[in-house]
Symmetry: C2
Amino acid sequence: MSRAPRLTAFAIPAIPLIRSGDDIVGIILARAAAADMQMQDGDILVIASKIVAKAEGRYLRLSEVCSSERADALAAETGKDPRLVELILRESNAISRKRLGVLVTEHRLGFVSANAGIDQSNIEAGDDAALLLPSDPDGAAAAIRADIKARCSIDAAVIISDTHGRAFRVGNIGVAIGAAGLPAVKDLRGSRDLYGRMLEVTQLAYADLVASAAHLLSGEADEGLPAVVIRGLDLSARHGRAADMIRSAEHDLYR
Amino acid sequence: MSRAPRLTAFAIPAIPLIRSGDDIVGIILARAAAADMQMQDGDILVIASKIVAKAEGRYLRLSEVCSSERADALAAETGKDPRLVELILRESNAISRKRLGVLVTEHRLGFVSANAGIDQSNIEAGDDAALLLPSDPDGAAAAIRADIKARCSIDAAVIISDTHGRAFRVGNIGVAIGAAGLPAVKDLRGSRDLYGRMLEVTQLAYADLVASAAHLLSGEADEGLPAVVIRGLDLSARHGRAADMIRSAEHDLYR
C-alpha cells in the first residue's frame, strides 16, 4: 500500500491592520489561539511580506523623495511617477525590462520583479505613501521562526511571501522572498524514477510551491488574510533560505 | 469575525503504472474509493500530464525518427540527441533560447518550456522511448470532468499539470497545461483593497497555484502519486482553460 500524503492549509482569521512596530508574531499566535488554530511542530507559517514590511515601518512618503535625472528619464519612458521610479532604482541592482506601464528590475535581494516590489495598495497612509519590501526577508523569516520557538516551543518553518508576475504566462503567483526552517529548493538529482532510471537534474522550488499554496487562501484584494498555516508536509532539510532560489545572472537566459 | 478559509489536499494512493488505452478516470475513481477518499462536488482533481499522455499512447521511438538538417544543427549546438531535437521542433512554434544542454521553445500549445515537455523519465519503454505531452490538455481536462460527472454525478474541476522551470529562479514548479471547471485566471481588477483604493490590475494565476499546491504532494521522482485532490476552495467561475494563462508573444517582454 502506498503512502497517502495529505496537507491542510488554513488562514488565521481576524488579523488586524498592522502598524509600524507591531509585534506580528504575538498577534499571529494570539489570533491563532483565539480561533483554536494553534500551530504545531512541522507547520509552515506563510506570512505576506506586506505585514512584515509594515511592522518594520518600511514606509516612505513620495512627497519627500527627490528624483534623479535617471529616474526622470525612466519615468517619462514608463509613464510612472518619477519619485516612485527613484525608489525603484534605489531598491534595484539593474533594470531588466522597461516599457510604457512596465518597469521590471533585479531587486537588490536578487529576484526579478516589477517595481522592485514597492507597493501602494493596502496602505492606510494614503496616496502619498509607498511601502518597500522588508529589508532582509530571509533574516526576518529566521527571526520569526526563532521567536515562535522561544515563545511557545513550536518548531515551525516560516516563509515570507510576495506576489510576482512571470515571463510567458498571465497572472501572478506566490513566491517566497524569505524562508527559514524548510528546504527552499528540494534537490531530486540522483533520485531514481519509477523504472530505476537516474533522474538527471530535478530541483523543486519547494518554498515557492508552499507560497503558492498559501496564496490560494490569502487572496490579494480586501481579504485581509496575511498569515496561512500549511500542515502535513515532510520537511526533510530545515536550513533553506529564499536566496537559494535566486538564479544568478550568469546562469539566467532571460535576465 | 473574518472567514477562516481552509483547504485540504490528498494524493490518491496506489495508482498503477498507466499504459496506452487505460481508462484513467476509472482507475482514479476506483483507487479513491478503495482508499475511502471519494471525490465531492467542488473538488479539484489535479492529474499529472504524464499519465494522461501515457493513456493517450503519446510514445515515439527515437530509433524511428529521422532528424532534419535543422535538428542536426541544433543538436550539435545544444549537445542533445538529434532525434530528440527533431521531436522538440515538431512540437514547437518557435525557439526561445538555446545553449549547451538547454533548448527552450514555445510549444505548439503556446507555453514556453524546456524540450517541448518531451519526457524520457518514468517511461517503461526504456531509453529509446520519448513521451510527448497530451495532444490537447484543455480538451482532455474537459473530457475527464465530463466523464467524472457522467459516472458518479460529481461536479469536480480538473487540472492537467506539468512541471516547468522558469526564468530568474531556481527550481521547477507545477503549472496547469489543461484545466476545466475552475477559473484559470482569477481577475481582481476592479476589486478594492483594504483601504478602499481601487486595485489597478491584479490577476491571479489560479490554476497554476492549484497545480503548485498539488505538486507538494505528487513529487517527481519515484513517488508514483500522479493524482491529487484539492478540496475547500471557492471556485467562482467554472469556465477557465489553461490557454487563458498563455501570454501572447506580443505582450511578452521575455519571449
